[in-house]
Subunit: 500 residues, 2 copies
Amino acid sequence: MEEKLTQLKRILGQVNDLNHTNALLEWDQQVYMPEAGEDERGEQIATISELAHTLFVSDETGQLLEDLKGLTAVLEPYSDEASLVRVTAREYEREKRVPAEKVAEFARVTSTAHGAWAKARQNNDFKHFQPHLEKIVELVKEYAGYFAPYEHVYDPLLDRFEPGMKTVDVKAIFADLRPRQVELIKAITSRPQVDDSFLQQPFADQKQWDFGIMVAEKFGITWDRSRQDRTAHPFTTTFGQNDVRITTRVHEDLPTSALFSTMHEAGHALYELGFDPKHRRTPLSDAASLAIHESQSRMWENLVGRSRSFWTHFYPMMKEAFPSQLGNIDMETFYRAINKVEPSLIRVEADEATYNLHVMLRLEIEIALMEGSIQVKDLPEVWNTKMQDYLGLTPPNDSNGVLQDVHWSGGMIGYFPTYALGNLVSAQLWEKMHQDMPTLEDEIRQGIFNTMLEWLRINIHRHGAKYETQELVQKVTGAKIDPQPYLRYLTAKYSDIYAF
Amino acid sequence: MEEKLTQLKRILGQVNDLNHTNALLEWDQQVYMPEAGEDERGEQIATISELAHTLFVSDETGQLLEDLKGLTAVLEPYSDEASLVRVTAREYEREKRVPAEKVAEFARVTSTAHGAWAKARQNNDFKHFQPHLEKIVELVKEYAGYFAPYEHVYDPLLDRFEPGMKTVDVKAIFADLRPRQVELIKAITSRPQVDDSFLQQPFADQKQWDFGIMVAEKFGITWDRSRQDRTAHPFTTTFGQNDVRITTRVHEDLPTSALFSTMHEAGHALYELGFDPKHRRTPLSDAASLAIHESQSRMWENLVGRSRSFWTHFYPMMKEAFPSQLGNIDMETFYRAINKVEPSLIRVEADEATYNLHVMLRLEIEIALMEGSIQVKDLPEVWNTKMQDYLGLTPPNDSNGVLQDVHWSGGMIGYFPTYALGNLVSAQLWEKMHQDMPTLEDEIRQGIFNTMLEWLRINIHRHGAKYETQELVQKVTGAKIDPQPYLRYLTAKYSDIYAF
């Protein structure tokens, strides 16, 4: 068994190197690449993707997995060896169904589509993006086709980001969640609005940057293993166990944007930095799922970063950094302002109470696109109608509507629901953490995060991809994904802020 | 033939993507990578190198080349098709001799050695680098062994950077050059020294940066296809026809460093940006050799950038950028200062008159290392002895001596002589350009470079790797590499400045 594991790990190591290399090609494309490099970068990403795919789905990998399934069957299922074989086989069986040339085509099409989307968004011109998205939807449908028969056409798409999760389960969770969130928003919007006018003035770019860097360091990021750069859209990316990078954007007149995005991405980065190094260069050194990933980012951004406890420690520093803007603002006013609930157009800037509705809208559109009940050309209208239904708003243009998110240009259909699931998981973990560590809030009030981070490392991070989402949530909290903790959290928080 | 060419180009395209991807991995390592990413980056570079090598030397490539050699034999030898097959076959036959695992080992060893060298240099600790260099020398000897029998053990090393060139030729050229350069330096140093004391004061970092950017733009660099970043050691790297990047370093108290390094790297970049796009993703879209590459960088840096004509246009701007430092310095004084000749320790900061001696010293050491007449452990002593012989100086420490250059840590033994050859070629081309364009100096005096760049594009750049060095120099100037134009250039320049 040792020998076969070594052989398998050699292949997996090379595939891992190729995937991390692709991540660098994409990072550089977003961060530093000169404009005219676009087309060639697309070719490079396509080549690396195709080689990684071909290497991974080789007959040699297949034979080794077959042999090792037998050999590891006698082991404890969550032993390192059995887990490596199980998780690798799951990925192998998924990827094996997709022809290598489709992988390269997908990479090429999405690389070009990304540029087209950015331009369309800039020029508020959905028609410019439409043919690219039509091609992507066609490819994604083909992709789903490789997994027929399926319970639902959306299942294979969801499974790419949320292994083991089914469309029917997500729908059930959201059906439970939706009326309660709508009710909550109604309760909030019937109350007098909080004042956040003092946030609408210039906050110096560099000071915002420095404050975010300082908070990320407090959370546990060290710059020998990470860095932060500027991009149009914040993201986290991984080039190895010891090189996980985040990006942010600074808006001088929207000081919450950079800071909360840094906290969010730091949460993602701490997860990736916390994988057990012994699983390096294998599929176990990866997130359990995007919902688990998002549970980490949203926890640091919201449950920590938008809490009274957090600002008890950090607000004096914030005032010191921005004396002319915040000198006369007390912490309670600031706390309410950064937690203002207001139906709005842009998902990434949405408050915690309305955020999940943005996700549900996208999920419904994606399912309808896949089922064929709507067409790409109808998207702007469908989007605007649903925005009116869900949030009572109609976008003034497509840039602030259907064109706002990068995901579809990257072919990432099936991704959005993981954001909402992540919110739910974050609150479930949060309740459990407080049970396990009664002094947690005290520590946060003192700006101390190392015991919290240690809890996350032990319970979540180090496992990497060993457990599927529901297994991991069950293992840690004793229950599967449950909307109740998140609803309890939102209700407690906003009934206090809005006094209902 | 068309079909086989298409098949070959598909493989070459993928190999090219892998090589450009490796260039990005290395660029990022120098420019932005967090420190702890070092080891994993080495693994990634090793994997990509191995895959590129394996793909390139596959039996399929071999068979296609064999078939195409027959099919293109009837064509004009410098037709695109015949050239592609010839140049690809030359690379193929070289790479085919090296086992894939050696390629990966070489990449791994040099990646680690780079970090060790940087640390050794920082701490002035040759012993820390010694075992890494010993391993590299051993691997390089093994590499040469794959090419036995050879005329000289150094031939296969030289051939990596200077296809077609032999050690015996280089020795002959240098034997011709050396006494004349030594004589020239004697003539110069017997005369009163020029005054450059005004350069030894602080010049603001950002203003230096901006001035370099402006000059690079004037030369013809556009930032939609390029960018400049900061690194410890300036370099140029290519990720595709439309993405060629340069780096520089700014020393506030050495204002010539950043500016001339930007001009130098811009010269390299303009060469790579000028390859004919129709050869994109093939081995023809590459430099003819490093000597040709260096002829371009040294031309822009020295023949243009250190000339009276250049500063006639740019010195008023320089004075405007640095009024307190240069307000009282006239152009002639500035011109002499930036052309001061003084034997010195560091190659990259050396003046034009002494530069080639730095190269010859390194060449002799490399040849002796390969012949086995000296050992790695002896290098500091050998270095210092030769420095005394050649330049009359003894380095105060190894950081300013044997540890100063990055090349050996990257396994690039055989590289140094191309610097001196590049100097010679630059002057040969320069004479020819002036014959072809009698108004060239006038244009430079007006800060106009587009006709000069166009001449270089037509005569040098667009050909890429189609011609070998001697073929190209012969084609353009009517003679093979000849030290006389360079010696004429140096003598004319310095007899004027130093009045001898």
